[in-house]
Symmetry: C3
Subunit: 245 residues, 3 copies
C-alpha cells in the first residue's frame, strides 16, 4: 500500500535531483519515507536520495519497491501549476501508479524494478576537507568553467576554496575565502572533475543556500544539500578524473 | 471600397483563429463585417469566423471578397507594439491591401480568391450534449494528453465531462463536474479526436473564459467562443476519429 | 602597462558594438582611452570605436596594442551579474589579459595583433543629409523590412526621412516627419543597404535614444551614437548596394 500527498513543487525538485543522472529509478518505499540509490550509466556519479515521510502532507506506506520512468513524471509536472498538490496512489494489482493534480489523473505503468540497474553500494568515504557554500556560487563557477574547458579542479589552499578550469590558452578561477563561505574545514584537497557531471549536479544544488562539498586529493567529491524544507537529503558522489599534467 | 481601423491586438487574435488551420483565406467583406469559412487541407477541421463591424473603431465597406496570405499578416503583427491601432485600406485597382500601424505602412498583394479553396458548406449539426468551460481548462487537458498520445476522447458521463488520452502503457484523464464547469447539458457523448488539431484549436480558445463544446457519440465536436470583446464569433468543427478498440 | 576598472554592463555594451561586425579586434590603448578601427571580412562595413578613459572608474595605461578574441569576452559576460565591476589587467610578459569580476578571475591569451587584419583607413565623407532619431525607431523599421526583403532603402524626401523595403509582391515603408525625429538636415539622399548588416548594426544602436544617420545618393551611410553615458563614441560606415531597378 502506498498513498501520499505532497506539494507539486517539492516533488518536482526532488525528482530533478535524480533525473540529472538517470532516466529510470528504483524507489524504496517504507513507512519512514522514500529512498533511492542510483548510479549513472557510465559509473561516474552516484546519488543518494532520502525523502522523509514528513515532507508529505499525507503519507501511508508499507514496504515496497517500485520502478519509475523519471521522464514521464517530469512530463506530468510540465503541465502542473504552482502551489498544486499531487496525490500519488499505488495500485499493486495492476502495477500502476496514479497521480492526481489539479483535476488531472495520470495512470503510469510502473517498471519492473528488476529491469533497472541494481542499487549501488555507496562507499563510505572520509574526506579530509569540507566547504559549505551557497549553491549559486558553485553554479556560477561551473558555468564560467564550461566556457573554456571540459573539466574543472576543485581544491583547498589553506583558507581558500578554489574552483579552476584551464582551456588551451585561457584559464578561469574562482577563489572563495572564509568570509564568502558559510564554513570551511581546511585539508589537503585538489581533484579534477568532469564538467558534464558537475553541470548536471549543480542544477538542483543551485536552489539550495547551503551546499556541502567534501574533498580530498585525487578523490571523489561529495556534494550534499537538503530539499523539501529540510525533510529530504540529497548526496552526490562524483569520481575524479586523472590530472594529466 | 474597404477602409477600417481596429486594435492591433484584436486583429492579431482574430487572424490567429484562422491561421491555426489554413495558410490562406478568402475574406468576405460587407457593410456588416467580415466573414470567413475555411477548411483545413486534410478536410478534418472547419472554421467559421464572423467579425462584426462593431469590432472596429471605423469600418467602411462595400461587398467584396479578397484573398490573403495569413502568414504575411502574422509577420506584420510580430513587430506591432501593444495598444496600437491598425488602419487597413483596400486598393481595388492594384489589388493590394495597405496596413498602417505605428508609423509603418505595409502594402500586401492580395491573392486571387479563385485560387484559394472554395468556402466549405458548414453542416448544421444538432449535437445532443454541450458543456461550457474556461478555455484554460480545455488547453490544460490537451497539453497533458499530448505527452502520452496522438488522440483524445471527449465525452460526457452523466454529470461529468471527461477528457481522456491513452498511451501504450499510460493514461491521463480530466474529469470535470458541474461545479467546475460553467454549464453542462448532459447527453450521450463520447468521441475521439486528433490531438494535432485539438492542440491548434485550443490555442486561440484558451484566451476565452467561456468556450462552448458540443458533442455526440462518434460525431464531430463543435468548439465555439467569442473574440473582440463579443463582437466576433469563432466556431470550429472537428471530425472524429474512429475508436479502434 | 594597462590596468582598468569599469562597469560590466558598459564594457559588455561596448564590446557588442564590435562583435556584430568582427570576431577579433586590435585594441589601441593609450592614456586617453581605447580605440578600435575594424572592417568586416566582406569589406562592406567599418566600425570606429572610441572609449575614453573617463568611461572607467580607474584607468592606467601606457601606449600599447593588443589583439583579442571578442567571442571569449562575450562568453565571460554571459555569467556576469548586473552592477558588477570588471577589473582588467594586462600581463605584457605572458601576453595575457586578466579579467576579474564577481570573484571570478579569467586569464585570456591575447592574439598577436599582426595576425588580425590591419586597421582600415576610415574615409572622411561629407554626406549631404542627416537625421537624428531614436534607435528604437530605426530598429523597428529594420525588423519590419526583414520580413519581406534582403535590402532596404534609406532616403530623405524633403522633410521626410523614409525607410523602405520591397519584396516580390509586398512593400513596407516607415515615413518619419520632422516632429517624430530629433533632428533633420534635408538633402539629396537615397541609398540601398543590405539588411544583414543593418540588422547587426541596429542591435547596439537600438539602446541609444539618439542615433545620427548621415546619408547621400547611392553613398555609404554613417550611423553614429554614444555609449558609456557619453564617454564612448561609435560610428559605423556601411557601403551601399546598387539599386537594380
Amino acid at each position: 500500500m502506498f498513498k501520499a500527498t505532497i506539494d507539486a513543487d517539492i516533488l518536482k525538485t526532488a525528482i530533478e535531483t535524480l533525473s540529472v543522472l538517470v532516466d529510470e529509478a528504483r524507489f524504496r518505499i517504507s513507512p519512514e519515507g522514500i529512498v533511492v540509490r542510483a548510479v549513472d550509466p557510465a559509473n561516474v556519479a552516484m546519488v543518494s536520495f532520502d525523502l522523509s515521510s514528513s515532507a508529505f502532507d499525507e503519507f501511508n506506506a508499507d514496504d515496497s519497491e517500485i520502478g519509475m520512468d523519471l521522464s514521464k513524471i517530469n512530463d506530468i509536472f510540465s503541465v502542473a501549476g504552482r502551489d498544486e498538490k499531487v496525490v500519488m496512489e499505488l495500485d499493486e494489482m495492476s502495477q500502476k501508479m496514479s497521480l492526481h493534480l489539479g483535476g488531472l489523473s495520470y495512470t503510469l505503468a510502473l517498471l519492473d524494478p528488476s529491469t533497472i540497474r541494481a542499487e549501488p553500494r555507496i562507499p563510505q568515504l572520509e574526506l579530509p576537507a569540507e566547504v559549505v557554500l551557497n549553491g549559486k556560487d558553485l553554479q556560477r563557477a561551473v558555468k564560467a568553467a564550461e566556457k573554456i574547458s571540459d573539466h574543472m579542479l576543485l581544491g583547498i589552499d589553506e583558507d581558500v576554496f578554489y574552483m579552476e578550469a584551464e582551456g588551451d590558452t585561457d584559464r578561469v578561477r574562482l577563489d572563495m575565502t572564509r568570509d564568502s563561505l558559510i564554513d570551511l574545514k581546511s585539508g589537503e584537497a585538489r581533484s579534477l572533475f568532469s564538467l558534464d557531471y558537475l553541470s548536471d549536479i549543480v542544477k538542483p544544488a543551485s536552489r539550495s543556500n547551503e551546499v556541502t562539498v567534501e574533498l580530498g586529493k585525487d578523490f571523489p567529491v561529495k556534494i550534499g544539500f537538503t530539499i523539501a524544507n529540510g525533510a529530504g537529503k540529497i548526496g552526490y558522489l562524483l569520481a575524479p578524473r586523472i590530472e594529466s599534467d
